[in-house]
Every structure is written in C-alpha cells, then in structure tokens.
C-alpha cells in the first residue's frame, strides 16, 4: 500500500511538472477558463444574477474541470505513445493503472486550480454576485464530483490506451458532454429521448447538485436523489475502469499495438 501511494505521489508530481511545461495545458487551465467565462458572460449579458451564476460561473467551472481532467488524462496516453514511453510505463513493475491514477490526480489538482481561477475571474472582473446558500452541501458536491471526474478520466485513459486515434476521439467527446450535461443551458431544452444519456454522465449530477446548493435546497429528497445518482454512476465508472484495465492488459500484450503511432 505504501509503495503504491509512493508511485501515485511520484507520478502525480511528475505529471504536474510535465503538464505545466506544456503551453497547451497552460492554455487549458489559465487562459481557456477566462476566455470561456467571458464569452458566456457576453452571451448571457442582461440575464439575472442566478442565471449568470448557474450557467456562466458553474458552466465554465465544470467545462474547464472536465477539459483539464478528462482530456488531459486521455491526452497523456497519446503523448506517452508519441514519445515511445507508453510500452515502458505499461511493462514497468508498478501497475499501469497506479501510474495513470497518479497522472489523473495531478491533472485534478491543476483542474481544481482552473475552477477556482474561473470563479475568481467571474466574481472579480465580471462582477457576478456569488453566495452559497448551503456551503456544506456545496463542498460535498464538489468533492464527490471531483472523485467522479477522476473515475471518468481513468475510464477514458483505459479506453483510449488501445486506440491509435486517441486525440481525435478525445476532441470529439467535448461537445457531447457540454450538450448533454447542461453545462451552459438546462438539459430540459433537449429532446426527452436524450435524458437517459444525460443521466449516465456525472457532470449532469455535479451541476444539478452545485446549482441546488448555491440557490438553496428546497427539496432535500431531490438533492439526495441526485447525490445518490452521482455516487452510483461513479461506482459504475470505477467498476468499468477496473474491468477495462484488465482487458487492455491482455489485449495490449496479445495485439502488440501499444507503440504503434
């Protein structure tokens, strides 16, 4: 256990250092949240404060968190492959999933910084009033939400480890999540048939929980239902990621495609 934690810590530290050396990552966690928040603010200009908090502030925060955690973690696979290090990481004595967990946690810490930055920008420069009616529930939602996003990132990294089109698939996943999770508009405006899809994605629950706790929870039954939903999908992601990592372990050795660029 101690050794595993040491691997996670080293991998996390190295990941943060490597990520910050890349200009694209600096864009994703510093410039993108600011520009995205400004764009959303200009689109939502003239709407009341609660709309600005719900869609400009929270929407930007979740969109950037999603981007920096999920995409960066999936993109890491692609980078390792391009540098010829993927097969080395895969075959080293520490488990591949443990190393990836460290990388994902590193991205999560930086993603959290990005979320705080977007909040600060919206409050300070765009003068949006931000008060949380139920701070305890808000913090709880954020913490469980981040754990859920870590599981998503692990699941994506497993899925994309065996695909050569990692970057393309990764980029094509951005807008479906923004659309179906109701990041910058409510999911109620989408056709009803898309609703089940929305509720298989954890950002939908994260946004609903955060919005409820900011505005004030009127019905705790509904709040706990969403919380239970978030925990359930997170557990499903966890089971799937564990299973996928076992599958790719066999598949990668059998097909020998890890180093194929």
């Amino acid at each position: 256990m101690k050794n595993m934690l040491r691997v996670v810590y080293s991998s996390c530290l190295l990941q943060m250092k490597q990520s910050f050396s890349r200009s694209m990552f600096r864009f994703s966690i510093i410039i993108y949240p600011i520009l995205f928040a400004w764009t959303m603010y200009l689109i939502y200009e003239g709407q009341d404060n609660s709309m600005l908090v719900s869609y400009v502030m929270l929407g930007t925060a979740v969109a950037t968190m999603w981007g920096s955690i999920s995409f960066s973690s999936a993109g890491d696979i692609d980078r390792e492959r391009f540098m010829g290090a993927l097969e080395v990481i895969f075959c080293c004595p520490a488990r591949f999933s443990t190393i990836m967990m460290g990388k994902v946690i590193g991205n999560t810490i930086l993603g959290f910084f990005s979320m705080v930055l977007s909040f600060a920008f919206v409050i300070i420069f765009l003068k949006v009033r931000f008060t949380v009616a139920n701070p305890l529930y808000f913090c709880l939602s954020v913490v469980i939400g981040m754990i859920s996003l870590v599981m998503v990132a692990m699941l994506l990294s497993a899925l994309l480890a065996i695909s050569r089109s990692t970057r393309v698939i990764m980029n094509s996943m951005e807008y479906p999540v923004l659309i179906f999770c109701g990041t910058v508009f409510p999911i109620d405006i989408l056709p009803v048939w898309t609703r089940p899809l929305s509720f298989t994605l954890s950002p939908t629950y994260i946004l609903k929980l955060c919005r409820e706790s900011i505005e004030g929870i009127s019905d705790f039954g509904v709040f706990y239902t969403y919380l239970l939903g978030l925990i359930t999908v997170t557990l499903i992601y966890y089971i799937l990621y564990k299973w996928f990592y076992t599958v790719i372990d066999i598949k990668a050795r059998k097909e020998a495609t890890l180093e194929v660029v």
């Binding site: 694209m24 993108y32 520009l35 939502y44 807008y175």
Partner: protein, 259 residues
C-alpha cells in the same frame, strides 16, 4: 500548376486524416455538427424564441474558420514534430509556393465544413435559406475561409521559433469566436475589443452572409467582402514577412529541430 495541386492533395491527405476516413468523419463532420448544435442551443436558450438564423450562420462560418486556422496554423508544427522542418527549410524549392500549396486545399475543405454546419442548422433548427443568392453565399464562404487561412498562416510562422504553437492557435480561435460577433451582437463587446474586431478577418464575411440570408443590400455585401479580401491579403503579406524574419532567426538560433 500540376505539381502545386499534387503537393496540395498529398499533404492534405497525409496531414488531416484522409488516409483514415474515420478520423476525417470525426473531425470534419461529426465534431463541427456537435459544435454547431451546442452553440445554436445556447443562443436559442439565451435569446428566447427570436429568429436564431443569423447566429447559426455565424457559427457555421466560425467553426469552419477554426478548421482553416488550425489546419494552416499547424503546418510548420507538424513538420517540426515529424522531423522534416529542417529539410523543408533547407530545400532549394520556393517555400511560399510549398506552404501555399499546403494551405490551398484547407480553404475548400473548411468550406465543406460550413456546408455541413449549415445542413445541420437547416435539419435541426429549421434555418430558412431559400431564395438567397447562392453565388453571393458561396463567395462569402470562400472569403471567410481565405481570411481564416491568412490568420492561420500568420500564426504558423511562429512555429519556426517556437515548439508549441497550439497556445496561439487556441487563443486565436477563442478570440475569433468572441470578436467576430458570431454568437452574440458585437455591440456587447467593450469599445477596445470592438475596435480589434474590425481588424480581424472573418468579421465582415459573417456580417455579409447574414445580409445575404436577409436578402439585404447587394452593394453592402460586396463592400464587406471586398474589404475582407483586402484584410486577408494584408495578413498574407504579413505572414510572408514574418516567415522571412522567423526563418532567419531559427537558422541563427539553430532551433529548427528542437521538439
């Protein structure tokens, strides 16, 4: 000319995924459609029940311009990562012709993306483009792509002295989104940003396409498109001079094969 076309096609096929149709479909058809749907739903929600046709047109133009900017902007970066940048620079061939050939197909390819985006708009959001002048509309699309490509080339030249060009490309794409008035009225921008939007390519093409869709003044359409072409050529010349400057700097600093 045959060599120019052959080089255009070959580099396009190799660099933008035509060797794998799945990649092409994902990046050039599915992703633009999803982007279009996202922004159209957003403006429909924020602007209420008002006609969102102008915003759908604006977004269709913009997402393809993004393609044009990224396609041309990544040219030199790709060469660097494949280890061929120093060979291209050292070769006796005309570099302007080489890079023009590589960007050439991007103009038409990005125009295809506009059509895909507009078809998505027509199918999902019932955008009405019946009775418009298709000649003027195609002209406005090609003008916008020329503008996007010229901006992409300016950014591409920076790749001669920098390893990671994606920071510039992404900032440029976001600024185009904010400053061209594709998704919200330009009047909402602060005064300095409004001034900056006048100097950017694509702004006038989007405005012209909206006038075409509303069947407005023909004279105004041609003035806007004419100005856009002039601005695009200014960017192209700027890209050329920047290229000369950065090529010299890259040779002096010996940074061509740093990656």
């Amino acid at each position: 000319m045959r060599k120019f076309i052959r080089m255009s096609l070959l580099s396009f096929k190799a660099m933008f995924g035509w060797l794998d149709p799945k990649v092409y479909v994902l990046t050039k058809i599915i992703d633009p459609c999803l982007q279009m749907i996202f922004y159209s739903l957003l403006v429909r929600f924020t602007f209420g029940s008002s006609d969102i046709t102008p915003w759908i047109i604006g977004n269709a133009f913009l997402l393809s311009t993004r393609n044009a900017v990224f396609a041309t902007g990544s040219l030199l970066r790709s060469e660097r990562f494949e280890g061929t940048l120093k060979l291209v620079i050292a070769s006796p061939g005309n570099k302007l012709s080489t890079f023009a050939a590589r960007s050439f197909i991007s103009i038409f390819d990005a125009a295809v993306t506009v059509v895909v985006g507009l078809l998505a708009g027509i199918a999902i959001f019932h955008v009405d483009l019946s009775g418009i002048s298709y000649f003027q509309f195609v002209l406005s699309i090609l003008t916008a792509m020329l503008g996007g490509t010229s901006l992409g080339l300016v950014i591409a030249t920076v790749a001669l002295v920098m390893r990671e060009i994606h920071l510039f490309l992404n900032v440029a794409a976001m600024l185009l989104f904010i400053l061209t008035g594709a998704s919200f009225p330009i009047e909402r921008l602060p005064a300095p940003a409004r001034t900056l939007s006048c100097f950017l390519p694509v702004t006038r093409s989007i405005e012209a396409s909206r006038i075409i869709a509303e069947k407005g003044s023909i004279e105004k359409i041609y003035i806007l498109l004419g100005t856009e072409i002039i601005i695009s050529f200014i960017y192209l010349f700027f890209a050329y001079f920047l290229y000369i400057y950065f090529e010299r700097k890259a040779r002096i600093d010996a940074s061509l094969d740093v990656y």
